[in-house]
C-alpha cells in the first residue's frame, strides 16, 4: 500500500502551495511533489487593456516584489514605444529595484527563514515565527524590520507609496528625485551596511551547525541562469542571459533576453498550476536550471563593489564548482543585500541622478515588446503584443519562481528522502521539507500569476488514490 504525506499549507513562504510525499509499502519515500494551488489568469485578464496600464496592473501579481513587475513591465512597454528612456530615469528605476531587493531579501531572510536558524528546525511550531524571534533574539528581529523598512521607505520616497507605486511608467518614471530625498536615502545607508555585515557574520558562524542540511537541502547539480553585464558583472536591472553548468562552466553567454523563447520553453504537469520552464537545448528535465540569489552569484564574475566582492570571493571558496546546495540561497541573499546597499550609494552620488528629464514620450512604434529584469527571486520576463491602437492582444509571463519549479521539486524529494521516514512523522522532519522550499523563497503570488498561502496536513493515500489516514500538523 502506498502512503502519501501532505503538507498543506506550507507556511512562511509567499504563496499558495502544498507538498505531497508518496511512500511505498515499506514506508520509504519514492516521490514528492510541490503543488502550486492557485491560478489567477493574469496573462489573460489584461488582454484588451491599454498597454500603458500594464506596469501598475502587473504589479498586482505580487505584493512582495511589485517593483520587479513594474520594471519588467515598463521595459516591455519601452520596447513597444521603441524609445530610449532618459539616462536618469534608468538610474532612478535601478534605485527602486535595488531598494526592493533589500526589502524582499530582508523579508525572506529575517521574517520568514530566520526562525528556523535561530530557534531550530525542531522547535515548537507555535513559536517558530517572526514573533518568536522577537522574544528570543530581539536585536535580530529589529535588524530585519529596520532593513526591510529602509527598502520600503526608499520605494515610498521615490514612488509615493510602499506597495504598488504607480511611479514607473512606459518611457521612464513620472517624477524626478529631489535633493532632500536623495540625502535622506544616503543617510540611511550606513546602518544598512552594518546590519548586512553583522547578519552575514552571524549566518556564517551557523554553517557548521547545519552541515547535514547543507548536504541534503536541494544539493544537486543543475544549470544556473540569470542576467550579467557585458563584462560578466552581476546585473539586476539590465543585462544579457548567461547559463552556467554545475561545474561552473559557462554554457551560453550574452543571450538576448528578448529572444528568451529560443532558449527557454515551458512544460506542464497535471498536479500543479505552476509551469516548468527548462533550458531548451537539453530538453525537459535535463534542462533543469536555477535562478535567484544563488544562481546570480554562481554566474557572475564579480559584483563591482568592495564589500560584496570580498564576500563573493569567500562564497566561491565553498565549492570549486558552482555552489550547489540550495541552503546557500540564504547566504547568497545576504551578500546581495550588502551589494544592493553599496550599489545604491554609487548611483545616488552620481550628480546626474537629480536631472529633471526623466520621461520619454512616444506612441507605440512596435507591436511586440519584451522586458526582462532580475527580481529578488530571479529572472523575470514580461512579453506583450499590442494592436495598432495600443491595446494588449497577447501576454506571456515567465516568473522567477517558475524557473525554479523543477529544482524545487527535486529539492523537496531529496529532503524527504533524507528526513522523512514513513514509520514516524516528526515536526522537525516536516519542517525541513518546508524549509527547503523556503530557501528558494518562492513567490507563488507571482509564479501562478496567482496568489496564495499554504497548509500542512499529512494524508496517507492508497495506490488507488483513496485517503486511508490523515494527520494534521498543529
Amino acid at each position: 500500500m502506498t502512503k502519501q504525506i501532505v503538507i498543506d499549507p506550507i507556511s512562511r513562504i509567499e504563496g499558495h502551495a502544498k507538498i505531497t510525499i508518496h511512500l511505498d509499502e515499506q514506508g520509504v519515500v519514492h516521490n514528492a511533489y510541490f503543488h502550486v494551488t492557485q491560478f489567477r489568469g493574469f496573462e489573460k485578464l489584461c488582454v484588451g487593456r491599454p498597454f500603458y496600464e500594464m506596469p501598475s496592473l502587473m504589479a498586482r501579481i505580487c505584493g512582495i516584489c511589485p517593483v520587479s513587475h513594474l520594471i519588467a513591465s515598463a521595459k516591455a512597454c519601452d520596447a513597444l514605444l521603441a524609445v530610449r528612456i532618459p539616462q536618469t530615469a534608468d538610474k532612478l528605476r535601478r534605485i527602486l529595484n535595488l531598494a526592493q531587493i533589500i526589502q524582499s531579501h530582508a523579508l525572506s531572510f529575517f521574517h520568514l527563514s530566520s526562525p528556523d536558524f535561530l530557534l531550530g528546525m525542531d522547535s515548537e511550531p507555535a513559536k517558530r515565527n517572526l514573533f518568536g524571534v522577537m522574544r528570543a533574539k530581539p536585536e535580530l528581529a529589529r535588524d530585519g524590520i529596520r532593513l526591510r523598512q529602509f527598502g520600503q521607505q526608499v520605494i515610498e520616497l521615490l514612488g509615493g507609496k510602499r506597495i504598488h507605486p504607480a511611479w514607473v511608467v512606459p518611457g521612464g518614471v513620472s517624477e524626478p528625485l529631489s535633493v532632500a530625498h536623495r540625502d535622506q536615502i544616503l543617510a540611511g545607508l550606513p546602518e544598512c551596511i552594518s546590519i548586512g555585515e553583522r547578519t552575514l557574520h552571524w549566518f556564517k558562524s551557523l554553517l557548521d551547525k547545519y552541515r547535514d542540511e547543507i548536504k541534503s537541502f536541494g544539493n544537486f547539480p543543475s544549470l544556473f541562469l540569470g542576467l550579467v553585464k557585458p563584462d560578466g558583472r552581476i546585473a539586476f536591472y539590465e543585462g544579457k542571459l548567461r547559463v552556467v553548468d554545475a561545474a561552473g562552466n559557462i554554457v551560453a553567454d550574452q543571450l538576448e533576453a528578448a529572444a528568451y523563447q529560443a532558449h527557454i520553453a515551458e512544460a506542464v504537469e497535471p498536479w500543479t498550476y505552476l509551469k516548468f520552464p527548462y533550458y531548451k537545448p537539453l530538453g525537459y528535465h535535463e534542462g533543469m536550471y536555477r535562478v535567484g540569489p544563488l544562481a546570480r552569484l554562481n554566474i557572475s564574475d564579480r559584483c563591482g563593489t568592495a564589500r560584496a566582492d570580498q564576500e563573493l570571493a569567500e562564497f566561491h571558496e565553498l565549492q570549486r564548482t558552482a555552489v550547489l546546495s540550495s541552503f546557500y540561497f540564504h547566504y547568497a541573499r545576504l551578500i546581495e543585500i550588502l551589494f544592493a546597499v553599496e550599489r545604491l550609494e554609487q548611483i545616488l552620488t552620481d550628480p546626474e541622478i537629480l536631472d529633471r528629464h526623466v520621461r520619454a514620450f512616444a506612441r507605440p512604434n512596435s507591436n511586440e515588446g519584451v522586458g526582462v529584469a532580475e527580481a529578488p527571486r530571479g529572472t523575470l520576463i514580461h512579453h506583450y503584443r499590442v494592436d495598432e491602437n495600443g491595446l494588449i492582444t497577447w501576454v506571456n509571463l515567465v516568473i522567477a519562481t517558475g524557473h525554479n519549479n523543477l529544482a524545487m521539486n527535486r529539492a523537496v524529494l531529496q529532503v524527504a528522502k533524507r528526513y522523512v521516514n514513513g514509520q514516524r512523522l516528526s515536526e522537525g522532519m516536516l519542517n525541513r521539507v518546508e524549509a527547503v522550499i523556503r530557501a528558494y523563497d518562492p513567490c507563488l503570488s507571482c509564479s501562478t500569476h496567482a496568489a496564495g498561502q499554504m497548509p500542512l496536513q499529512i494524508q496517507l493515500v492508497s495506490p488507488e488514490g483513496k485517503v486511508v489516514d490523515e494527520i494534521r500538523r498543529g
Partner: protein, 177 residues
C-alpha cells in the same frame, strides 16, 4: 494570561496586504505584546484555532479551496475583516470574470507551452467561475478598502478593534489607495 488571538489569511490576492501589515515595522513589536498571531502565512501553525478574535482576510474568493476555507474561518472567528480591495470588491482578480475559466485554462496550459500541454487537474483546486468579494460568500464585520490599505490604516484598525471600538477608516484609506 491569554492575549486575543489574531489570524490572517490569504485567498486570491497578491500578498500586498500582508506586506502592508509588515510595513507596520517597529509597531509589530508592540503588536506582538498585545495579540497572539495564531494562524497566518507568516507563522507555522497549520490549524485554524477554535475561535480567533480577529481574522484579517486578504484576497477574493476564487477557487473551491478559498470558498471552503472562508466558510470554515467565518465559523471560527469573532470579527472578520475584509482587508484590501481584493477582499472588498474582488478588484484585479475579478478582471478574469468576463472570461470563461475553461477557455482561459486551455489557452494558458495548452497553447502557450511547448512540453506536455495539459490542464492541471490533480490535487489542485478547481477555479470558481468568477472571483467574488468575501462578503458575497460570508458575513463580514469590518471593511478596509485600499490596494493595499496603508500600514497606518491597518495599525489603527487593529488598535481600535482591540479596544472594542468600531474603527472609522475613511480618513486613512479608500478604494484603490
Amino acid at each position: 494570561m491569554s492575549k486575543p488571538c489574531l489570524a490572517t489569511v490569504w485567498l486570491d490576492g497578491c500578498s500586498g496586504c500582508h506586506m502592508s501589515f509588515l510595513d507596520m515595522d517597529e509597531r509589530l513589536i508592540d503588536l506582538a505584546e498585545k495579540v497572539e498571531v495564531v494562524y497566518s502565512p507568516l507563522v507555522d501553525g497549520k490549524d485554524f484555532p477554535e475561535m480567533a478574535d480577529i481574522t484579517l482576510v486578504e484576497g477574493a474568493v476564487s477557487s473551491a479551496e478559498d470558498l471552503e476555507k472562508i466558510k470554515h474561518i467565518r465559523q471560527h472567528t469573532r470579527i472578520l475583516v475584509s482587508l484590501g480591495d481584493c477582499a472588498v470588491t474582488a478588484n484585479v482578480p475579478s478582471m478574469r470574470n468576463v472570461l470563461e475559466v475553461d477557455k482561459m485554462l486551455r489557452e494558458v496550459y495548452l497553447e502557450q507551452v511547448a512540453g506536455q500541454p495539459q490542464i492541471p487537474n490533480q490535487v489542485v483546486p478547481a477555479l470558481l467561475p468568477q472571483a467574488r468579494p468575501v462578503h458575497e460568500v460570508v458575513k463580514v464585520d469590518v471593511f478596509v478598502p485600499g490596494c493595499p490599505p496603508p500600514a497606518d490604516a491597518i495599525y489603527f484598525l487593529l488598535t481600535e478593534l482591540l479596544e472594542g471600538r468600531q474603527p472609522d477608516l475613511s480618513a486613512l484609506t479608500r478604494f484603490g489607495k
